[in-house]
Amino acid sequence: MPSVTSVRMWLRALFHRDRIERDMSKEMQFHLERETELNIRRGLSLDEAQRAARVAFGGVEQMKDASRDTRGTAHIESIARDIRYAIRSLKNRPAFTLTVIATLALGIGANAAIFTLVDALLLRPLPVAHPEQLVIVSDPAQVNNNNVGSPVTDFVSFLLYRDVRAHNALFTDMYASGGSGPIDVKMGAGTDATAEQPRARFVTGNFFSVLGVPAYAGRTFTAAEDEAPGEDPVAVLTYDYWQRRFSGSFAAIGSVMRVNDVAITIVGVTSPGFRGDIVGQPLDFWLPMMMDPVIQPRMNLLNDRGWSWLMMMGRLKPGVTLEKARQEISAIEANAIREHLSGLELSQFDENLEQTPIHVVSGARGFSERRAEYGKALWVLMAAVGLVILVVCANVSSLMLARTVARSREMTVRMTLGAGRGRLIQQMLIEGTVLAIVSSVLGLLAATWGTRVLLANVSSASNPIAIDTTPDARVLAFTATMALASVLLFGLLPAFRATHVDLATSLRSQGRNLMGAARVGGGRLPFGRALVVAQIALSMWMLIGGGLLVRSMQQLLHSDLGMDRDHVVAVRVRTARSQYVGARLAQFRRDLVDRVARLPGVDAAAFADHGLFSGGACGRHVDVSGFIPQADSERQVACDNVGPNFFHAIGARLIRGRDIEARDLETGPPATVINETMAKRYFAARDPLGATVTVDSVRYTIVGVVRDFQSSDVRGKPRREMYLVFNDPTMGETGQAKLSVHVRGNPSRFVGPIRRAIEEVDRTLPIAVDPVNDLVRDTLSEDVLLVQVTTFFGIVTLVLAALGLYGVTAYSASQRTSEFGLRAALGAEPGDVTRMVLGEAVRLAIVGVVIGVPAGLAATRLIRAQLFGVGTIDLPSLSMAILVLVATAVVASYLPARRAANVGPLEALRLE
């Protein structure tokens, strides 16, 4: 029960320590003097009187300690003293301090940076009310064949959403949202109004109320606003778009923007933290679902069960578990699909359902395709930076150890004088903590910068990534934990080691240097050596993993894709909502090809609906003459519509028959070229040329077989593909005219000329021109990220290991100066000493390698999924890694070895 007085006393004791200490000394002094006077009066001499007084008093210092204890601040005082002492002694050794802080900041910063990404993309819940109640029905991140439409994702149609919503009883409500196709927005009324292409999503009117997202300014949608098609031309903006486009002006709310030439009133803005229900994907504004038929006419997205384009999210009623929802909702959805199927389709649906059930998963973290795309890579990076911090700790640990060994005399003396081991350890830990705190702050700053750089590196215009990278409480907590763990790692070990002093031996051996160093803190630093070996083993790990990723990257970037990737330029011209429709569009495509083909240096140009690496794909069910399918899946073929000379223009190789030609556009039976895989599957030994493939009751005649080539994904396995003649202008799906242009020489040089040629045909349309290899690289952005970051950290760990090795070699060489001198005196050549020191360092490196290689090889299995074209044991990269490490060891220990060799006998003796 501390009284006010005692608290005041305690605070006074804490903050006026110096004055209190002075008072106390003065008081003791007074007491001693009075005692002495008394003794003199009793007849003792001055000397005897003083001695007797001191004896009567007892130890002054013990007395003071006992008095300090009664003040109850002894412990805090000792910590405060240690902090001051630590800061002072760190200031006195700027080189040491800066090195430690820089490496620690790097390690902690790297971890914080990667964790920021992991957190934002993989862990963080949506910033909405009670995210744990949200449930995703039909997960677009999964593959599902149950829904009509794209075979590779799990979207649903608007009508299916209506059915599920009407029948479910477990959700308080559910909403649907779907991406818009390309749209353009004009601000202002004048003819010079700027057009831009923002990203918008169509959402049902209850989107914001189900998620529980309030408006930051203005209002969000009301359920009544999404009742009738085309009735409510309103939009809600994201905060970012509002800031970017309207400079955060409140006047923007209530103003009108023209979306695909439809006047839309901006009614509100959402809070800064909310970026939509899709994590990692940038978004500009939301439109009511019912506005879709007006804004995207000709698509009929709301009334066609064949259009699966929506994601569904529901909010569980209180008390309902996800498991219960999984059973009931998937049954409801399955029944709703069944109702509109019959005969063969129905039995196939039931068959498919057995294999891939309807996905009903937690929606707490929102939708994300990026999560699947980058998830594994991020965990690999997290492991990599985990290794980095271990190496950093080992390094700092040996630096601290070297320092404490240098201070061993001080330690020994203090312990002889009775300082407790605990006090010394406390002091060293506090020094570590001061270092860790400073480094963490710097590390966090570096991390914020680092994540932006990382994101900028993997983001591209066609594949942008938007995630929140401002460090939040979780990132701060993570960083603090990191810092604490490192203090324990690098502070505790040397502290125990350094205070583990055999007093007698160490006092005796102080200053005795000939033929053997002082044995304090473990003689020639065996502990330091163990740390170096650990660092080298960890670097080995890193180098093995990094080497594999680099090799795989080379394969990805340069592997043979079956077409001439280095000489093709891809052109996309957006024709949606332009004057080009029907026959005019067909003519436009031909005009573009003709114009571009006339450019000097261009071998061939051809148009196609999807073309190469455009991100689009389509699949069809086909009937092949003479082939009887056993299952429906055997009828599935990927397809594209292509114009004349397509295979020539992409540099693919025709194995049999001919390319699509100009005459195929005009008359005669529609032609198609199939790939090798399709030919093997359907024709085996038969001759495919002249056979027919029926798609949507149009019969195509096979005129050629092309060698398999990758058109959308470097890693993809070859699949059945066919290329139908693009003779029906209404067939295109993409709203873009796409050309592939084969050029002689560096494709980048053709980007400008091709763009100008197209502008000669029509300068009003948006044009994109890219070398195909750039598009390929875009699909590999996560591999590029992985390789760049692991390479960087691989170099960092290598440099740290080299520093560690240098430190230990230099230290042990300096400890043996007199030994070397003696050897020199006895006739050793400088070369002998150099070899001896170098040999020792290389032995350490080899021990590290021997430990690191098996561990590294075992770990590579974790990154198998990221690899392409290399096995998990890749001899070239493995031997390269070993070579690099041993070479680094030699370089790092060469200087200390040279120095050791130059020690003369006199110099060594002078040290004694």
Partner: protein, 110 residues
């Protein structure tokens, strides 16, 4: 004399409080006063006197101030607070009860 330094912990506080109840005093004076009042039977080990003084000060039973002695020397004087006076009387009662109890036991034994 031998027993003097082992004054029971609680007793030391009581003796210090009692000595200060007579007049404000410095530390050395307190030890002299106790020795004198006990006719040299109790000699306070100074090693325990000052911790006791600081302890009492922390409890708010005494307060201290620097002032000048009769010989013109700076010394730290301690004096009882109101709380200290209350503590002294209750401690005194406690001690009587304790001493009487011990006495009773000793009488019965004799």
């Amino acid at each position: 004399m031998a027993a003097s330094s082992d004054v029971l912990q609680g007793t030391l506080d009581l003796l210090v409080l009692k000595a200060l109840a007579l007049a404000p005093m410095h530390g050395w004076g307190i030890s002299q006063r106790i020795q004198q009042l006990s006719r040299d039977a109790l000699r306070i080990g100074q090693g325990s006197l000052y911790p006791a003084l600081y302890r009492l000060e922390r409890k708010g039973f005494v307060k201290s101030d620097w002032s000048t002695t009769e010989n013109n020397r700076e010394a730290k004087y301690y004096q009882l607070t109101a709380a200290g006076r209350r503590a002294l009387s209750s401690e005194q009662r406690e001690w009587r009860r304790f001493a009487d109890a011990v006495d009773l036991v000793l009488v019965a034994e004799g």
